[in-house]
Subunit: 110 residues, 2 copies
DNA sequence: TATCTTAATCGTAATATTGCGATTAAAACA
DNA sequence: TGTTTTAATCGCAATATTACGATTAAGATA
């Protein structure tokens, strides 16, 4: 055990969970914060910004890329990362739909 | 290693990550979906709704309660859970602020 | 070509999460 | 009181995540 039973849940529930997981680490939030701040996406000085070693940052970048939140372009021997506009908006919509799905109800018991 | 280096990130970054982590599991999304659906929060039949054993569900409920997303009232020997309206709204605001913080920029390199 | 720079990948250790059987605690009920 | 119901907690096994040193691959540069 220890493995999530993804096949028993709906595709939407799994997607939402995966999406949340992608941003469920302060380093990944910090990376996204940085990419937003410097918006013309300077590359590997992300490593200088973060209190983490290069392989660790690389691993977090990979996860963000897998989630689709960022993309990277090769530029010489450096790599230039930035927010993926489309996925970003999509994520925002999915999360909004989820949170807007709840409307407080007076007859709730607690 | 293996432990997240929370102390090197800002409080906001950690809060956002913790928040995301709370909903980063399909079972927890499913629990929230269910609580939203039945809005007058029926209790432990959450277990019947989910493909998971009672202790597992109990553990997920505990995590959601820790995050503040749900609260529980004792009702006889059963316990009645429901969405915590205030935290829910707060989460929505925090996530919105994060996602709205990015505005697509033409001069992005990729 | 040899060297430097940049960033991915490999391998491994430490820790966290997920899941559940067994047990427990507390209230309901016979 | 003894039994049933409900849900938390304990203890453990399986797996996932986080972190990083060492290595590697590829382009830049001398």
């Amino acid at each position: 055990m220890g493995a999530t039973k993804t096949d028993h849940f709906t595709e939407r529930q799994n997607q939402l969970a995966t999406l949340a997981k992608a941003i469920a680490h302060p380093a990944r939030i910090a990376i996204l914060d940085y990419l937003i701040k410097v918006d013309s996406c300077i590359c590997g000085d992300i490593v200088n910004e973060l209190p983490l070693a290069q392989p660790t940052v690389s691993q977090h970048l990979k996860e963000l890329k897998n989630a689709g939140l960022i993309k990277g372009d090769i530029e010489g021997n450096a790599i230039c990362y930035c927010i993926d506009e489309n996925t970003w908006k999509q994520f925002q919509d999915i999360l909004n739909a989820f949170f807007n799905g709840y409307t407080p109800n007076a007859k709730s018991c607690c």
